[in-house]
């Protein structure tokens, strides 16, 4: 089909509902009418002028081939010239920042990359702060993000497979992995799931999670999220697959195992002995965060005999005159804590400081003085609240579990808490995330992977890729195959 430049332009304008940011420019080139079209705010004007307007209008050599070929090969000053056979194809690309060239009477439309990348600079992500180590974080641009990965990986092995997801947004989603390291079945499984997604728009990476995880209704996350390229590359080197979404600074990683959340990128830049200690502390923190208020309630209601006599006296003293049951007391504090957290999170920073003072000092102090709650209960809830953020990525889940633990502790006592804990363990043990057991390498116990579980071995001793993560087992040696080199 041959395109009539003017008609095609009208056609596109109509399809885009005469959108005011759709711009066009008509030029003559060897007696042919050429229409150049672009979307104003997402196109780089300078680049547009340099790659399109200037070369076309200044071209003064004789025409040797047909116009399209001549434009493509000699005139247009761009690193990439795409040919479209339908208006729809051309339009889709134009909407992502490309400029299109419609030559009257030709069978193809040309497209040039003139996209204006508008994104914030590369910064350290606020939830993945490190003391020592790289501070670069992902941005909202998929191109920048891929560039950040490429900067660290100079191998042909890195595969970036980009697809558009979202009927209306056509968001670019990239699947990144190392071809020789990642498990092929996992990659194809992920790609198959991504291709099946039917959704209007993907505004963030988290939109994809429910499509990708097996137990989609589970409160526990089964897909990892990273904000830093060094962490992503580290995970990819172990065989994981990353999913980058344009417009999101979060990169999803799969397979995911729970222990990942107890690990931090800092761990790999610090002394191994310290790392082991800190990881155990994190685990302890998680346990305290979830069960401490529940256990406290259970002890008060059912099992005061466990409490040492001296401490029991303190509790009895502080509880004098408090009108609520231990459950209501702790529950009130937990809810208060959650409200403060939510309010603090969304407040401007300068308000946030004031909020902390109001919350922690004034509210805490006055509730105790007013005889609504006892100081030990405040201490227990505060301790539990602080320990949440040892593992920030699981804080949301843990806060719900904490509430459940409070109810169970009050209803069933310590026995109920024990059953609850085993139930949680059993529930977590039942997950498999892309061929990897959720609690691996602890359950199932994988001897080889203990070098980077709760302790971390010296980097030079970590010779094999982890077995707990589904990866290409034929290429398990981290030092690479000598024959390959």
């Amino acid at each position: 089909m041959k395109f009539n430049a003017v008609e095609t332009k009208k056609d596109i304008e109509q399809k885009l509902h005469n959108s005011s940011d759709l711009k066009s420019r008509t030029v003559q080139f060897f007696e042919k009418t050429i229409v150049l079209m672009y979307i104003a705010d997402i196109t780089d004007n300078v680049l547009f002028n340099q790659t399109l307007i200037a070369p076309i209008t200044n071209y003064n050599k004789p025409l040797e081939k047909d116009v399209i070929t001549e434009l493509k090969e000699k005139v247009l000053a761009s690193h990439e010239v795409i040919e479209y056979e339908t208006i729809e194809e051309a339009m889709d690309d134009m909407l992502s920042g490309k400029s299109i060239v419609i030559v009257d009477g030709e069978e193809k439309i040309l497209g040039l990359d003139t996209e204006k990348i508008t994104t914030r600079p590369v910064m350290e992500p606020p939830t993945s702060v490190v003391v020592k180590g790289p501070r670069e974080g992902f941005t909202e641009s998929i191109k920048y993000n891929i560039a950040l990965i490429r900067k660290r990986v100079r191998t042909p092995d890195l595969v970036v497979n980009i697809m558009d997801i979202g009927e209306l947004t056509k968001t670019q989603v990239g699947v990144v992995y190392f071809d020789s390291v990642a498990d092929k079945t996992v990659v194809s499984d992920i790609e198959k799931k991504l291709k099946k997604i039917k959704i209007d728009g993907v505004l963030d990476a988290h939109y994809l999670i429910s499509y990708l995880q097996r137990n989609s209704k589970s409160m526990f996350k089964q897909i990892g999220d990273v904000e830093k390229p060094d962490v992503l590359v580290g995970k990819m080197l172990e065989g994981r697959v990353g999913i980058i979404v344009d417009g999101s600074p979060i990169v999803l990683t799969m397979p995911f195992v729970l222990v990942e959340d107890l690990q931090n990128s800092d761990d790999y830049y610090s002394q191994p002995i310290r790392v082991g200690f800190v990881r155990v502390l994190r685990l302890l923190g998680v346990i305290l965060a979830v069960v401490l208020p529940g256990v406290f309630i259970a002890l008060e209601i059912y099992h005061y005999k466990i409490i040492p006599t001296e401490f029991l006296v303190t509790i009895m003293n502080t509880r004098q005159g408090i009108p609520f049951s231990p459950f209501v007391e702790v529950f009130f504090l937990v809810v208060l804590f959650e409200i403060l957290y939510e309010a603090n999170l969304r407040m401007p920073q300068y308000f946030g400081m004031a909020m902390s003072i109001v919350g922690a000092l004034i509210l805490g102090e006055t509730t105790v003085n007013a005889g609504l709650v006892s100081p030990p209960a405040v201490m227990i809830v505060a301790l539990s609240g602080i320990t949440f953020y040892i593992v920030p990525s699981q804080a949301a889940q843990f806060s719900l579990l904490r509430l459940a633990a409070c109810v169970i502790g009050a209803c069933l006592g310590l026995y109920g808490m024990l059953i609850f804990c085993v139930f949680i363990l059993s529930y977590l043990s039942s997950f498999d995330s892309y061929k990897s057991a959720y609690l691996a390498p602890t359950a199932p116990y994988i001897d080889r992977d203990q070098q980077d579980n709760f302790k971390r071995d010296l980097i030079k001793n970590m010779k094999k890729r982890p077995k707990s993560i589904a990866n290409n087992s034929k290429n398990a040696d981290r030092r690479g195959d000598e024959n390959q080199l």
Binding site: Y304, V313, T314, F327
Partner: protein, 409 residues
Amino acid sequence: MKKLKSIFSPRKIIIILLIIVGIITVPGLNMPAMSETEAIVTMLCMDKQDENIVVSATVLSPGPNNVPNYQVFTGSGQTLSNAVDAVSLTIGKEMGFAQCEVMALGENLCDIGVMQTLDFMTRTKKVGRNAYLVSFAGDINDFSESMSNLNKEKSLSLEKILKFDERYTLIKNSNIENFYIGYFNDLSLGVMPKVEIKNTEDDNAIEVASGGQSAGDEAETKSGEKEKKYFVNDGSISIFKKGKRVFDVDSKMVKKANFFVNNEQEGALVIENVDDDLYTDATVIVDVVRKQNEIGVRFDGDTPVYRNHMEIVVFVEQVLGNQPKENLLKRNKDFLTKTLLERIKEKVQNDMQDCIDFCKTNKVDLIDAYKHFYKLTNKKFEEYLKITGKENYLDNIKFEFDIKVSNEY
């Protein structure tokens, strides 16, 4: 089948069960703290008075500045259960015995037998079998009062005193469990520390030891001075046979029996009239800083032999009497002269012989001879018992002492 399966789907079953559990247990959400509904009993005294059982419970209650406040409540009834209920009614709370650390039994109760009481308290009321046991002489109200006085001083408790007591008496662990072990053994012999109650006017010196400022429990005496009840623990013990108290052993004899017990117990020995190059008719007090017993039993023919090899490390603590001033310049170990060593050895041997004589006379095995012979020479000892019987077996045992005294570890 498919329909059935969908009805019995695991998710549905779990949700239904959770709902049932929720319905049943939801009152828990509004349950008060247990410490508010139960009286926390830290000590329990029991005795028999006029055909009634009297129970006195020391109850922990909140006090200012996190200092525990102890209150004593008393009740009586025809049975122990009635008496406990009477205390509960007085307090208006269930009695919680989980924190009960001491059980004190009055002499009257000890005389009629304590096993039923202990069984009831441990089985039904769930008093821990590791609670300390103590017998007391005197009125239960006086004992409760003295306990109240003691508890007012935060650092003092009967439990701590009894624990310290173990270093000086032959009771390794004066708790209910050990009493049970003694009761269930062949000899059915039990030992319990014994305390007495006194008034301050009886002996002012000990008031300082028991300490405590008392307001409520003080009573005006005739002279206008405030009189206070306190208890005295001098290390004496009560001996029980088949759960009944048979007699008491004074602290002196307890110390003598102490030489047979195979553990590191301490104490002081007073050696009088020491006369040699260093001492002139002096009374020397030596401190036993370490004692190691090695008890061996055997049969020489048909005669059972009980051999006690003992190594004592002593330290001269005090020398009474006029001594030359040069003695003060001597090193510690020079104080332990050959004569003194001999005298210590002689003293220990005499004390042990006294103890054996006491055991034989009273037919009570404070020295664990039965246990050692039974465990180590089982068959022969059983034959021996057939001849002597379980009452008189001590009579024909030959005792050998091998005592080594030194001042070096």
